[in-house]
Symmetry: C2
Subunit: 504 residues, 2 copies
């Protein structure tokens, strides 16, 4: 009997390895499309991605997969399985059920709608006209509402969507932490806008050639411990990090010759994502476990590096003279002035251009609207008005055009509802991790000032990275910090930092 199960286990892992092989090929094609694939090959390449994605989908919902799940999840055999098999089985089962519960025909229609909606959204954004996009968005919401009923609900219907990106997180939890965050950030933003001690920033926008920015970025990546034998840095339009396999975790960035912050902070953000995946235990390689455990935990790592390290005074104490070598126009700017400038906070309309203080408000607005959409409190047609009201109330700015308001993000056009909260969750997790780290590692600021990132990286690997997808986000949070989600640490970080910078 034992022998039989081991044979099945081996076949199952081989089957999963095949799915992962297809996924690796798909990921490379995706990376290639976004880093320089020639224009005329794009349509055919997209078709190939479609065909291989279909292969993966079929394998994930096949009778063979059903048989593996049935055979290996029997209680009598569970104990005989290796940890890899056990965890992998859980992930495969989750995917199987999620994919099987939607009627095939309906899912096909949904996929077609998705791709149409994305192009309509592009057009609507270009014309700044929400009414073009509205009927598509309505259909996407309707489809998603039906999917929620297929998948089943647990309390609020939006919980089912949250579970896709952040298992364990609920509306009740988010309402609580987001309102705390909002109640403290909104007045702080207000105070800052009234402060007379605003940083001078004009020197940030001096020309800084792309090649020099790239060289500086590469130097910083090496310092932070990004492994170039298991990755590379390329240029793209919308930066991302992507894992092809356990030895190949790539990052991409974008260069703005008149604002170097885009590339430098963007690269370090993606580096945070990449360090997570470069440091997952190789034990999980070749399975879906070799992945970040959730969108929020992933974002916690990128924000940790971007904000807590690269926007830290100690970081620039160490690297400002290096920057000056690549960008001599900073030679006449003092370190203090530079530090204040890169940490300028100013309410703005566009999420992806927001600073670290106002950023969570952009997320909270989207969360409140998504939640209300899915519990029926509001309708799609109400969105632009509500959006504008909330921006005025929370940030004190009001979009004049749909393009810089309701139409700015692609997420909804792709049917991604429930994704946005991860950005703010990640930020709160990161602040909690930082607090826990500071209790264990002596003098966090000094480590940064001395460039001893290895200790920080090893701490994150030991407590978070190594586990890949084998631990759930809230379990990691609890094990690392001894408590649940708690916005206090982020609030404290933001208040201390910004009161200091703006002399409040």
């Amino acid at each position: 009997m034992k022998k039989n199960i081991q044979a099945v286990e081996k076949q199952f892992l081989q089957y999963v390895k095949k799915m992962m092989a297809y996924k690796e090929a798909i990921s490379l094609m995706y990376w290639d499309l976004r880093t320089g694939a020639p224009r005329k090959g794009v349509d055919q390449r997209s078709e190939v991605i479609g065909m291989l994605s279909q292969d993966v989908f079929h394998m994930s919902t096949s009778e063979q997969m059903a048989a593996y799940i049935a055979e290996l999840s029997a209680k009598s055999v569970q104990e005989q399985l290796s940890p890899v098999t056990r965890y992998t089985l859980v992930e495969c089962q989750k995917e199987y059920e999620r994919n099987k519960k939607i009627p095939a025909d309906e899912y096909k229609q949904y996929v077609i709608l998705q791709s149409k909606a994305e192009s309509v959204w592009e057009e609507a954004k270009a014309k700044s006209d929400f009414s073009l996009f509205e009927p598509y968005l309505k259909q996407l919401v309707d489809f998603t509402k039906r999917f929620i009923t297929y998948w089943g609900t647990n309390g609020h219907p939006y919980n089912t969507l949250l579970d896709l990106y952040e298992p364990g997180v609920t509306v009740d939890l988010l309402d609580d932490v987001f309102s705390k965050l909002r109640n403290r950030i909104v007045p702080l933003v207000q105070q800052i806008s009234e402060s007379r001690h605003k940083p001078e920033t004009s020197f940030l926008f001096q020309p800084f050639p792309k090649e020099k920015q790239r060289a500086f970025s590469l130097a910083l990546l090496k310092e932070l411990g990004y492994d170039f034998d298991a990755g590379r840095l390329d240029e793209t339009t919308h930066p991302f990090a992507i894992t092809l396999n356990e030895g190949d975790v790539r990052i991409t960035t974008k260069y703005d010759e008149n604002d170097f912050r885009t590339a430098i902070f963007g690269t370090i953000h993606e580096c945070g994502h990449a360090l997570y995946e470069q440091n997952i235990s190789k034990e999980w390689a070749g399975t879906p476990l070799y992945d970040g455990t959730s969108m929020g935990i992933h974002e916690s790592q990128s924000l940790f590096y971007e904000n807590f390290i690269a926007r830290h005074y100690s970081f620039w104490k160490r690297y400002y003279s290096l920057l000056q070598q690549y960008a001599p126009h900073f030679v006449d700017v003092s370190l203090d002035d530079f530090y204040r400038a890169i940490n300028e906070s100013k309410p703005s309309l566009i999420r992806i251009e927001a600073d670290e203080l106002t950023y969570p408000l952009h997320i909270i607005i989207r969360y409140e609207m998504e939640k209300a959409l899915f519990d029926g409190a509001i309708e799609v047609r109400d969105l632009p008005h509500i959006w504008n009201e909330k921006y005025e109330a929370y940030l004190g700015v009001r979009p004049e055009r749909d393009a810089e308001g309701i139409l700015q993000d692609v997420h909804w056009a792709g049917g991604s509802f429930g994704y946005f909260p991860s950005y703010a969750l990640g930020y709160m997790y990161a602040a909690q991790f930082k607090y826990a780290m500071e209790k264990q590692l002596l003098d966090f600021d000094k480590l940064i000032e001395n460039g001893e990132f290895v200790h920080i990286r090893e701490w994150l690997t030991k407590h978070i990275h190594q586990y890949g997808k084998t631990k759930k986000p809230l379990d990691i949070l609890h094990e690392v910090t001894g408590e649940g989600l708690n916005p206090t640490y982020l609030i404290r970080y933001l208040e201390e930092k910004y009161k200091h910078i703006y002399r409040l």
Copy 2:
């Protein structure tokens, strides 16, 4: 009845499209491995390539494929098929038979041997010791001899191998043309080595930064009509051109900062390959017909651009001043001196470093040895000695170490026998095409001098490129030139050019 066949035809083309999709993914992974994939991801990436290659192999030999072939090649239905289907069927059938005739177990052993042999060859080359490689080479030859018996012979056993790369070309034909070539080139090489009018070349080896070489290469590629919307240029160790799909035909090159000829002539060589595949009729896209018809015809296009265009006096008459902008150290060198320098001819030991005059002799040596190996005239253990004798006889140089003699090329380690002749065949084809072109296009030299490459490109597209794999190499040759393989044109080209350069 008709309707049925059309349904089968559609399914068959869909099936082939799927195979082509896997091949596209494989090609991208191959390109990526050779243009900068990080070291630690290579093993896993190779496994993925292996898995997808197996998918393609299975599809090419499946019962489904057998059924398509049986159904669609019946005489009664052939007339109802579209040209795409008919030609595709021929290619699929050829591949099916080739793959099916070798017993599966034997083929598996062969694949294992191949990969072992390549690493042993690398070691043997590093140690310059043929005896390490000899037993593996012997096994590869023995396997290949058995494959020849499975595939069937037509006259000389080596014909079966030639057919893999250059359908229609036989030992009888090659013996004839290669002896003519050899008889004229050997004395010319001898005369040159005795000439007192040798070009000065030292100025070629001045430092020329990589970035400048790249910029100059890109400028030339644009001039030649390489379509950057359907391709890109990257850096690699062993340059190649690769087609991912009909809108994505990439080239790669290598930069030597102390010898710019490597990058410039190498890039233009690969550009010739790429122009072929960029200009195949889109009618054949998504099938195996979207490919060069043979190795020889492919090489004819790369050599046409590399030698007949880029080593032509008129080319540099036009572009020498541009080169001087990128490489100011040429400002003091006259155009005539430059032209003679880049066309220096000197017998050497290494094929891939050979000039355009001595190159065919390197190929003829390999051909004579392969032919003798497969008709049993010589044994693997005799190779190093025979190699050295032939180099001394034809080129007047004798290798002192196996690494610079018998072990220099990877081809045999990969089991590629019958491939080498394509290089020299391509050269002869190219000279014949040039002669035919010159009769139809007024003043070839002037076209080059004026940079009017579009006429040359259109001529090649009309007569060669557009057909892809739908016409056989010797049929193309005959239709374009009105005759069969004829070494006269290449001999005439080489004699005229080199007698002029060396004032013989």
